[in-house]
């Protein structure tokens, strides 16, 4: 049984050498006791069957070769006892008892070997899981952590020993993006779920992860466990936010620059003929004011004034044609769809400003004729204004309300879209100026948003109006006419 000593050289670091040595002594004593009992006790039983205990004990601590040697030794001891007792006269009963014992030892050895193989391959796989930087853990159906990878330990701070056996959601204080029931349903239906979760680390800090869940089922198809693979998004998120902000600022700068460049080029194109008109006018007066008025020169000056005036108006006409090239495409639109699409674009801003949505859509509003992109620009503008207005109130009170409804009045049928905020509102004396160009209540506002919005809505034959809410905040209402031929 000295083979047992091999176990200390086993690669498996989970087993402490001290404990290994104790087990070797215990197994040896046990084997000796069984041998003594088998050989010298008068009891007529297959005591040698008890060697399976020695084999099972050893199976946990020695590898394949050692286990084979030990079980061979046990078989040898069984045979030795048999020959010592029944050396000269053996009956069928004792031979059978001996055979049963040997069979039991053999079968136990084979099963143990198989179990060892399976365990080894599992350990290898678990070691592989430890290689990835992602945090991986396995939860059973009761949400109790059964496995906890090295990556999980690094991300969350709890060691395997601390985490295994704990309830996952309790330990990590998981914040789910949707109702847990919805997530569970998807997991059961499709076998997987993917989404962003917020967890709390051992040190109390929060971490946002991209979480992928896979449902493991037992052989009968019942859910057995969930493997959760989480990768840290906090860093990536921070980078994305910075990028987003930079892009927004860039867009703003580009818009101002474009406006500036456009203004400069229009100014130049119109200024030249205007300068010529004014100078020709001055020259004309001079020619007439001379002691002998030079009618010919004066006439030529006036003719140039006329042609220069024409040239200036040509520039304006060219500008108009240029603007017409990007004239909106009017198609029948479902305003609810328009609003929904617009809200998708605003998802990030809503989350950033921590704003809750309150939607009240009339699903039966008639279609309006309009340019989808332009209307969305208006609604985005109104919504962004509303969000910024609510920065001043505590997050709990930040609610963006969007209402759609059909309306019928003396002007005909219309669809109304309302954007409501719960911000501090706008002083009554400022309301009339609200839609003027270059008027802004915001410190860094350009004062173009509402002015452009009004132009767009008026080009749609509609109206845009602002009114304070009774409960505080503002409501901006966009009223779009329903075409005559639209069925009710």
């Amino acid at each position: 049984m000295d083979d047992r000593g091999d176990a200390t050289g086993h690669e498996d670091t989970d087993i402490e050498p001290g404990k290994n040595w104790q087990m070797a002594v215990l197994a040896t004593i046990l084997a000796a006791a069984i041998f003594a009992l088998d050989t010298f006790s008068p009891v007529d039983m297959a005591i040698a069957v008890l060697y399976v205990v020695v084999v099972l004990l050893a199976a946990n601590y020695v590898e394949r070769r050692g286990l084979l040697a030990i079980s061979g030794l046990c078989v040898g001891l069984t045979l030795a006892s048999f020959f010592i007792i029944h050396g000269d006269s053996f009956d069928l009963g004792s031979v059978m008892r001996c055979a049963v014992s040997i069979a039991a030892i053999t079968v136990t050895t084979l099963l143990s070997l198989r179990n060892q193989d399976a365990t080894d391959s599992l350990k290898e796989q678990a070691a592989l899981l430890d290689l990835t930087h992602d945090a991986i853990f396995v939860r059973d159906t009761e949400d109790v952590i059964r496995y906890w990878s090295q990556g999980a330990q690094e991300l969350y701070g709890w060691t395997r020993a601390e985490a295994v056996g704990r309830n996952a959601a309790d330990l990590l204080k998981t914040a789910f993006p949707h109702a847990l029931a919805t997530i569970r349903r998807e997991l059961l239906q499709t076998g997987r779920w993917e989404g962003e979760l917020t967890h709390t680390r051992k040190d109390g800090s929060r971490v946002t992860v991209m979480s992928r869940w896979s449902l493991q089922r037992d052989e009968r198809g019942r859910p057995a466990a969930t493997m959760e693979t989480n990768s840290d998004l906090t860093e990536r998120r921070r980078a994305e936010d910075a990028l987003h902000q930079t892009r927004t600022q860039l867009t703003h700068v580009t818009r101002i620059t474009t406006l500036g460049e456009l203004t400069a080029s229009i100014a130049h194109e119109i200024n030249q003929p205007l300068a010529a008109v004014v100078t020709n006018g001055a020259a004309c007066l001079r020619w007439l004011d001379r002691p002998e008025p030079d009618i010919g020169e004066a006439k030529a000056s006036v003719e140039r004034m006329i042609s220069n005036g024409r040239r200036a108006s040509d520039v304006v006409a060219r500008l108009r044609a240029l603007a017409r090239r990007s004239e909106p495409q009017h198609t029948p639109l479902d305003v609810n769809e328009v609003v929904e699409e617009m809200l998708q674009l605003l998802e990030r801003e809503l989350a950033q400003h921590r704003i809750a949505l309150e939607l009240a859509f009339d699903r039966h509003v008639p279609a309006v004729a309009g340019d989808r992109v332009q209307l969305q620009q208006v609604l985005i503008n109104l919504s962004l204004n509303a969000m910024q207005a609510m920065d001043a109130v505590p997050p709990r009170g930040r609610r963006l309300g969007i209402v759609t409804r059909a309306e019928q009045d003396e002007e005909g049928r219309a669809v109304v879209i309302e954007v409501r905020d719960r911000g501090p509102g706008i002083a009554p004396e400022n309301l009339p100026k609200l839609f003027n160009a270059f008027y802004s209540t915001k410190q860094d506002g350009m004062g173009m948003g509402l002015s452009i919005s009004r132009s767009i809505i008026e080009a749609h034959g509609g109206r845009i109006a602002a009114a304070p809410n009774e409960t505080g905040g503002m409501t901006f209402a966009v009223r779009l006419p329903v075409p005559e031929d639209e069925p009710t």
Binding site: A267, Q272, P273, A275, A276, T279, A283
Partner: protein, 129 residues
Amino acid sequence: MSPLPMISIIDDDESVRVATESLVRSLGLAARTFASAEDFLKSSLVEETACVITDVQMPGMSGVELQSVLRARGADTPLIFITAFPEERVRRQADAGGAIGFLAKPFDGSAMIECIDRALTARGAAPRP
């Protein structure tokens, strides 16, 4: 030298050039027009010119560059600048070069006449008739 003080007008825009020329002639002065500063410098009229009226932004040499070239050649010809982009930076450059005037287009006829009078007085040329 011609009996009348001669004003050279440089502008890449023909309509402004022609209108300014007419204004100058209506004052009883002689005028020549050029579409670029380079054309003016190549001409034989640089020496005879009593005053230059020039646009600032032009393809090729700008009005301010023309001023530098003239000063480098030792010519103290007075210059009046006209521009559709009255930028303070350019105005300071022009002033530093001893510009008589810096007028934004469209410029006022009487402001231009005042500038021309000052230029001719400074040059010691015969005042306009």
